[in-house]
Amino acid sequence: MNLEELYRETILDHNQSPRNRRALAHPTQAAGLLNPTCGDQIHLELEVKDGIVQDVGFDGHGCSISMASASMLTEAIKGKPVEDALALARHFKAFLTGTPSPVPLGDLEALRGVSQFPSRVKCATLAHNALEKALSGSEEGDRLR
């Protein structure tokens, strides 16, 4: 097994220097998620104005895959329309099960190797699931802390 396939440089870099790992001053949406099998935790905050993700930040703890994935996600959706952010999350999750993405995934492409490790897919999608939860608006309890 080639560990470099799974843990690409980009992933290790995002894990060591996570982007947007901070609380927002004025979040409009937020969601927390737990990965009950691992105990990984993520809290994602968004500031959405005029249908655009103006700002996004996260906090939490977990393995390098989950934390790097969260960091990459925040970079990918910042400044994007909400629909595009949701589409990205959807396409990324399909990408991890082997479906090529119709939209560019940016740094998230580095997580390609995860598809060969089914037990780690949950780690890689934790932030994306949190994003969907935050933007779905159905989780009133999670909107703003």
Binding site: M1, Y7, G39, D40, G62, I65
Partner: protein, 407 residues
Amino acid sequence: MIEPLVDVEKDFPIFRREVHGHSLVYLDSAATSQKPAVVLESMDRFYRQYNANVLRSVHTLAEEATQAYAAARDQVAAFIGANHPEEVIFTRGTTEGLNMVARGFGDLFVQPGDNIVLSPMEHHSNLIPWQQLAKRRGAVLNYVELEPDGSLSVDALNKAIGPKTRIVALSRVSNVLGSINPVAEAAELVHRYGGVMVVDGAQSVPHEPTRVSELGADFLAFSGHKMCGPTGIGVLWGRAQWLEMMEPVIYGGEMISYVDRETATWAELPHKFEGGTPNIAGAIGLASAIEYLTTIGLSRIQQHTLTLGERAYDALARVPGVSVYGPKHPHAGVVAFNVDRIHPHDLAQVFDAHGVAVRAGHHCAQPLMQWLGVGSTARASFYLYNGERDIERLVEAILEAKRFFQR
């Protein structure tokens, strides 16, 4: 150099395989143990030669199956020093046994305002059934506070157990800290107040000679699959006086005495707790596992896994950046640890690439993770097929992981 207690490749077919080009170093026996060929063969023989349902039919196959199933119960009883085989109930595993006690016995025995004593190191299966019982009955959970090293002292038991204590539920050996708990002392205390002692033996019964009277237990639950037996079979032992009083939680075939349109009465022990067709092959496999372990000797196994546990503890503690949890001595053959700045999942992934299988996560003990102040840990656990070479391979794998992630 401590060698495995048995000829590993001869007894355990699984060790003939490789993982990612490496010989398998299996350090996850606290999750489930590997299975010796004799156990697999005993179950195969049942299905090929005398498969039939038990306790129901008079034909030859049914007689043979029924006899084997009864003999398995006798073997379990002898293995744990039970007075009567009827006190041995076959379950799916420890979890089911503990749930049965909480429901069938706890609901009758615990009154509002009573307390149930637990420790923060309990596995969720010896925690949530009691949380739910406390909710149903309006009882209070009292936690025994752990010592700073994760051991459980008799002093702390003294503080937690009192006149209102109806149930004390403790694991004999922690599945994370490797602590060995003074269950007999706890039993003596709770018996003073007329309460009962429930022992989670999942991590102890596979690793030490067990005598229910010496443990002072009123109930003891354990799993077959952690002691070289198959999955899906376990044991709940209870003192006959309590089992007589305890209500079944599964109703159906073969657990009744008389049924009419409106009512039913229960079968004698142990059948009233074994509704439905039992796991016959599982019981036969478990009996075979008991025979296998007994031939090697439980005292030898105990000495072996304790020694490996303590050597692993010391070897890991010497690696810079490694934190090891639980008491230094005695430390059972389950060792939880973390490596600075490497998440346990990433650690386990790198280990796997080197053929080393460990568990990473919260080990179904979230309150204990909270007590330790960590989200999760890696855990190496040992059994009779492990040797000191496996500890070396583990340490080498840690050094590999450090090179990989801290480059």
